[in-house]
């Protein structure tokens, strides 16, 4: 088990190195023209361009540059750890911007993920157990709605009804939980729900299908033959075996959202990492975009590592493979 975790962690480090190489290649080697010019943003001064060129070490061979890039990332640069460079457009280190924006995105994802996991899995189980009943059909209707409704439309409708008309919730914007916990929840409940809806729908359908498939397995018949209650058969035997695909999807979805809850963040003006990436792109602020991209890539790798480790806990066959 320990050996397995060590092995998976080493793999994760290797994958991060490759991801950094690709990111580096895309942003430093591929662009036509002087990267320093692109790094400097829209209206650079000659002095800032010279400064950037020196800081990036663009006069050195590419492997030296990549080495420095990796070294900065892992050991930090003059602005802290991990070393993500400096945003010349905003005049602040990228790390500081990321540090400010990350909690917003992570809190958004954490709340939404909790909702979609609880809602999706419970409705999925209910729907599989009550197959072909009215409850099942209603659940499938919910799935269809959740998958079809665009997030921006849902977000705007939610704001219009619950904030503008009913005044039940807070509106757009972000209120830090440390300053005003009530305001935080009041402002987050809509983005959480809207972001969770699509995923809840997908998880409902996946849970239902996986569970129905598992319920046809021979070991479920064995469980019933033992005289176990239907509840134990479903929860302890069938759901347990259905968790693997759910955990896999969950890890990937959470990781992808780290860099990509862009629409929800925009509609509710949360100004998290997605917003940082968008504004960075619009201002041609390459260091900022690069920072978010690397963070997103690392999030994917780390979540994959978590999923791998979760497998080993869930399925003994993986542990000894």
């Amino acid at each position: 088990m320990v050996l397995y975790i060590v092995r998976r962690t080493l793999w994760a480090v290797l994958v991060i190195l490759i991801v950094l190489l690709l990111t580096y290649a895309v942003f430093y080697l591929m662009p036509a023209g002087d990267p320093a010019l692109r790094f400097a943003g829209k209206s650079p001064t000659p002095e800032s361009i010279a400064l950037i060129r020196h800081r990036l070490g663009l006069d050195q061979p590419w492997y030296t540059q990549y080495g420095k890039f990796v070294k900065n990332f892992f050991t930090g640069d003059e602005y802290g750890w991990p070393g993500l460079g400096y945003s010349y457009v905003n005049g602040v280190p990228v790390l500081d911007q990321v540090k400010e924006r990350t909690p917003r995105t992570l809190l958004l994802i954490a709340g939404a993920a909790t909702i979609w996991l609880v809602v999706g899995v419970s409705i999925g189980v209910l729907s599989a157990v009550k197959r072909r009943t009215f409850a099942d059909r209603a659940a499938m209707g919910f799935v269809l709605f959740g998958i079809s409704a665009p997030v921006f439309w849902l977000g705007l409708m939610a704001l219009f009804i619950f904030w503008n008309k009913l005044h039940w919730t807070g509106g757009t914007g972000y209120v830090p939980i440390t300053e005003n916990p009530t305001g935080f929840f009041s402002h987050m409940i809509l983005p959480w729900t809207v972001l969770a809806l699509l995923f809840a729908a997908i998880y409902t359908r996946m849970t239902r299908n996986t569970l129905l498939e598992t319920l046809g397995e021979d070991y479920i018949r064995t469980a019933r033959a033992k005289g176990l209650s239907e509840r134990t058969v479903i929860v302890h035997h069938a759901l347990r075996a259905s968790l693997i695909p759910i955990v896999t999807m969950f890890g990937m979805d959470v990781a992808l959202l780290v860099g990509g809850a862009i629409i929800t963040e925009s509609v509710f003006n949360i100004q998290g990492l997605g917003w940082l990436a968008i504004t960075g792109t619009l201002n041609q602020d390459l260091p900022t975009v690069l920072g978010v991209v690397m963070l997103g890539a690392v999030a994917v790798v780390i979540m994959n590592l978590f999923v791998d480790i979760a497998y080993a806990f869930l399925d003994p066959r993986v542990r000894y493979a």
Partner: protein, 337 residues
């Protein structure tokens, strides 16, 4: 005669489908005594598994229409409500299945799965249930049972898994153990061990065993009584010795003729012509008549009764005892040449 533990009367199982009714089991009756092994034999789709699953209450009642009676310890299994049946299943009547690779939960420890069978019917502590699991694993011949109980099914060989399934079935000393093709998925050497084990636990636990198989060799080795099924119906039912010495039904003759032995080479085997009938569009009269080389007019129109023939056991065929004796003699003459 010893105590009757299971009395099945007129069991029928019908699955309504879009194509029509699938008559998986029709009017099946048999009795099982304590300490007896009843072998149920027949081709795929003859209803041998379905009839047992019906007794266990493991068929989906929304999709299967089950009629008849099955007395077990003063209760009719087929008319028990679901929650009462759950109290009987795994306690008074237990079942093991064909593929021990698929029948154990891959993510739970073998010992835990057996302990779960203990606590399903008895309010005991986890440690007592686990001790019982270890005891039974030892009983069915798992060496070092205390340690092996902590293993997962994938760490067990096929034979050991089937032993574990048997241990699980024995937890509450059931009156009836149904073994549905328990050796089909196993190596030949292991098959014999598992059959011996089933025989041993039958004696030690004093239970009635229903052994479902398509292998007459398995039946010949272990069964006291044999039930031959075809297209959901009993074709022949009687004591094993008698049935092998003087089989009465042309279908049984076919089964025996297609059974390889050391003396008989493969090219001497006589396969039964044709394939089993559709259970939706059942042939008229005797369901076996399209494949029967002894069929005559009456066979195509009237279903023969299951009658006790001179010689002592029940058989479903229109042939007269004289015709049967003659046919059987000529078959044996050909075979001995």
């Amino acid at each position: 005669m010893t105590e009757v533990v299971l009395d099945v009367r007129g069991l029928s199982v019908v699955f309504p489908t879009l194509d029509g009714e699938v008559k998986a089991v029709s009017d099946l009756s048999y009795i099982l005594h304590r300490g007896e092994t009843l072998g149920i034999v027949g081709e795929s789709g003859s209803g041998k598994s379905v009839s047992s699953l019906a007794l266990m209450g493991l068929l989906n009642k929304e999709r299967a229409h089950i009629t008849g009676r099955a007395q077990l310890g003063g209760r009719d299994l087929l008319s028990l409500p679901d929650d009462e049946m759950r109290g009987v299943r795994g306690k008074d009547i237990a079942m093991i299945f064909q593929d021990p690779f698929a029948c154990l939960h891959p993510m739970h420890r073998v010992g835990d799965q057996i302990a779960e069978a203990v606590t399903a019917h008895k309010k005991v502590s986890k440690s007592i249930a686990e001790a019982r699991a270890v005891e039974l694993l030892g009983e069915v011949g798992i060496p070092n049972a205390k340690e092996r109980a902590k293993d997962y099914p994938h760490q067990f060989s096929g034979g050991m898994r089937q032993r574990a399934m048997i241990a699980m079935a024995l937890v509450h000393n059931p009156s009836v153990l149904i073994a549905d093709e328990p050796t089909t998925a196993l190596d030949v050497t292991v098959q014999a061990q598992i059959l011996e084990l089933i025989e041993r636990v039958k004696r030690e636990f004093d239970i009635g065993v229903i052994l479902i198989t398509h292998d007459l060799g398995v039946i010949a080795e272990t069964a006291n009584t044999v039930l031959v099924m075809y297209a959901g119906r009993a074709m022949e039912f009687g004591p094993a010795q008698e049935l092998f010495a003087a089989p009465q039904n042309p279908y049984t003759w076919g089964l025996l003729g297609s059974m390889p032995t050391v003396e008989r080479k493969l090219d001497e085997l006589v396969a039964i012509e044709g394939t089993p009938p559709s259970l939706v569009y059942m042939p008229s009269g005797c369901a076996f008549h399209p494949r029967c080389s002894y069929a005559f007019d009456k066979c195509t129109t009237a279903l023969p009764d299951l009658r006790t023939v001179p010689g002592g056991h029940a058989d479903r065929c229109h042939l007269t005892p004289e015709q049967k004796r003659e046919a059987l003699n000529s078959i044996r003459e050909v075979a001995s040449r």
